[in-house]
Symmetry: C2
Subunit: 229 residues, 2 copies
């Protein structure tokens, strides 16, 4: 059971590069964070293990792992055994790694925790520059969700609105990494890869590895990721 | 695995009076329904059993029970062992039976099924006349959610928008019951009570029993509910 305080916030925290940077930013701004990791039966389940390792460094963070079995719904290369994770996609449009309504589901669960614990602030590490083109990572979606949740919760109706923070939304991947380095993020522990080995080595080929690699290169920071041989 | 067709729809279906009426309405309008029942660790878990009995009558409905453990979040008399289900509440404001962000979570999961199965229509039996004052049963919330989900899904971005139907929203409880009777709903199988006995007898005292009893009385229809002695 996490104990919230007046200055608490909730961070959606997958164990990846973006959400770990977001956690570090939120940790600077708030005390007594709740880091909410969704175990959604993702194939890259190793990110749950990554999240557990990363969180040890943050003293005032309560880590919650919440199960929601999106593999039962399927329809994404990240959750559906019948769909292969592609190598970095060059086709336009929304890629097959998009998970149906994922961020709406995750933000809804975060909002439930916010409501229960009397918390105003939710952080999510969405980014609409170096990203895979997922509709639920765009600013207009987040702003709309914020309006909706303030109509659909007690907090909202009582005027104590929920605020969704997206500190990475307009940053390039290289800028995210530079920001994280300033905040002492250990990127060697984070997992971005959609298809890692059982021991967490990144494939180096999927979309997410592609953006991560480019980010370290552009930031002129040595990439600590261990890639499969 | 449910098989969807061009005329499919998804119905959020709890096994209660409102959602069963909504199911009957959707069944009239669509073929190959997916009835989505959320097992959210509700104390009145008997409603899941009710949903299984009710669904047997509907031939073209695929029943999906999806787990999302809202008791882990708590904060409601319906999910939290430390909060007692009250007798019918006369105090104003949002009652303690309100479950934080429940309909946002449920609609998000329904939207994920819609996205995966290429379905446009989602039905939800919310009602803002004879209801407990939950913020996420109001029309303005539903309309806002519809906008949000169309910004946050592939369907929406591609112009194949998701439509959320609320056929009961402006009906009195008695009107809902009259409509259901016309559609041959067997209300003896439905469970509305927040605190039923283990065998499904209604308490007769909670808010939900209160509105249900009044509904049958006002509709001048014999109440088939079995109440605890």
């Amino acid at each position: 059971m996490c104990v919230a305080s007046k200055n608490s916030a909730i961070v959606l925290f997958s164990g990846g590069l973006d959400s770990t940077t977001t956690l570090a930013i939120a940790d600077k701004n708030s005390s007594d964070l709740i880091a909410l990791t969704l175990n959604y039966s993702q194939k890259h389940h190793f990110e749950i293990e990554a999240s557990k390792k990363i969180i040890k460094k943050y003293k005032n963070v309560c880590h919650v792992i919440f199960d929601v079995d999106l593999a039962k719904i399927g329809g994404s290369a990240l959750t559906d055994d019948s769909i292969k994770v592609p190598e970095s996609e060059t086709t336009k449009g929304i890629p097959i790694t998009y998970v149906p309504a994922r961020n709406t589901i995750f933000l809804s669960i975060a909002a439930a925790y916010a409501e229960k614990n009397n918390i105003k602030d939710i952080y999510i590490g969405v980014n609409s520059i170096d990203y895979s083109g997922y509709p639920d990572c765009r600013e207009e979606f987040i702003k709309s969700f914020e309006e909706t949740i303030n109509l659909g919760t007690k907090r909202g109706v009582e005027g104590k609105s929920i605020k969704i923070h997206t500190p990475l939304i307009h940053l390039k991947k290289s800028e995210i990494i530079s920001e994280g380095i300033k905040l002492d993020v250990d990127y060697s522990l984070t997992l971005s890869c959609y298809e890692p080995s059982l021991s967490g080595e990144a494939c180096g080929k999927c979309d997410s590895c592609h953006y991560r690699k480019e980010g370290f290169r552009d930031a002129k920071i040595s990439d600590p990721t261990i890639y499969k041989k």
